[in-house]
Amino acid sequence: MMRLPPFRYFAPATLPEAVKVLADYGPAAMVLAGGTDLLPNMKRRQFTPQALVSVQQLKELRGIRETENGSVIISAGITLHELAAHPLIVSRYPALAQAAALISTPQIRNTGTLGGNVCLDTRCNYYNQSYSWRKALGFCLKKDGDICWVAPGSAKCLAISSSDTAPVLVSLGATFLLVRQGSERLVPAVDFFRDDGINYLNKDPEELLTEVHLPPPQGTRSTYLKLRRRGSFDFPVLGVAAVLRIEPDGVCTAAKIVLGAAACKPRVADNAADMLIGQKVTQALITLVAQEAAKLAKPLDNTDFAYGYRKRMAEVFVRQALTKLAE
């Protein structure tokens, strides 16, 4: 059962051709970028699309460029390795370079793309299992079943947003360009992710993510910290993205804290971040802010490590991230 199910394969040479196939097939087609999330999921029969549309040939999905106003536009097909090493990203958005470098393994970073990371399927111990494992249990809400094993009373799937770049892109105020046949739209990252383990993206199957737009950093510093069991391979069980601007007089004039792998979507800790605005960033204040931010982490028993520990670590990691940026 770990072979791929059959599908029709399309490798369009241009963006218009790609969005046409996506429009023709609708929900029956899926986009194939690096395939490092999609193909394992298809082997486990979490997806059995009729058609795969490879976007590897599309020139429109390659490259990183700077615009006149100082924004940076990253094409969705850029690999995680390219992203982690790109001078513009390393110098201006270090949190994004750090997050990309912390994903999985060298093999996966060479193939996996930013677009695929943003659209990464949500994860859960009861879902990321082989077909026979899931069948033995009677399946679950997210795929083929009618109960949630994590919270049997829940009408909603609580699978976890496990992308390392998603919380960072939300914290940096990124916007995503979505293209479909005949039209396109820009969506702020914060509105792209939905609080639902099944319908976790504000995106139609016909839409292709082509670009990630990053606003100029405007004097901010950023960082990303990741909790996982092994220093390689493992998905985050907690990610903390933080952005701060500290003026020469030591006063903080911009702050953003976003928690990853703590819910179905990245959680934005604005109450906590706002406590920093107009203040000197002292260790005492950082401690209070971290306590406030950690209130948003409501880990469940559906990934690695005990959830009580993950909750405590949310506070510790926010403190560490802010301390690093305030130095």
């Binding site: 791929l4 599908f7 029709r8 194939l32 193909l39 082997k43 393994t105 060298p106 060479n110 193939t111």
Partner: protein, 159 residues
């Protein structure tokens, strides 16, 4: 049976063509269609690195690449390391350092180490460990593998 696709690629420096179904991974094509069984099958989900090959100069998991995606690409596998009867220095040093026990992970490690040394001929121990972080070994405890790669790098640098 779905329609087969004709694919042209370069394998260990030689032009190769094959027919495969879209659903066949590059790993299946290498092993079952082309008979290149040096590349090993472990998890099939990107979690072990036993299937590592060098694709256009970079290591990838061949279990997560479709055979049809190899069109026009340059593939290097463990079979491309030795020159006739002469082992590649990495292979020689793996033997000398006893950097393998059961051997299932070895082709993946050799290929990952080759990709690393191609790019960085004189790596630190830290860089070797980072470069091999996508390959699992259940037997050796990794230390001998790291020593073997560092030693091979030294030999290849003429040290």
């Amino acid at each position: 049976m779905a329609n087969k696709v004709h694919v042209e690629t370069t394998l260990n420096g030689e032009a190769v063509e094959f027919l495969c179904e879209p659903r066949q991974s590059l790993l299946e094509v290498l092993r079952d269609v082309l008979g290149f069984t040096g590349t090993k099958e472990g998890c099939l989900t990107g979690d072990c690195g036993a299937c590592s090959v060098i694709l256009d100069g970079r290591i990838s998991c061949s279990c997560l690449v479709l055979g049809v995606e190899a069109q026009g690409k340059n593939i290097q596998t463990v079979e491309g390391l030795a020159q006739a009867d002469k082992l590649h220095p990495l292979q020689q040093k793996f033997l000398e350092h006893a950097a393998l026990q059961c051997g299932i992970c070895t082709p993946g490690f050799l290929v990952a180490a080759k990709a690393l040394l191609d790019r960085n001929p004189n790596p630190t121990e830290h860089e070797v460990r980072y470069g091999l972080a996508g390959n699992l070994c259940r037997c050796t405890g990794y230390d001998k593998i790291v020593r073997a790669v560092l030693d091979a790098a030294a030999v290849m640098q003429g040290r």
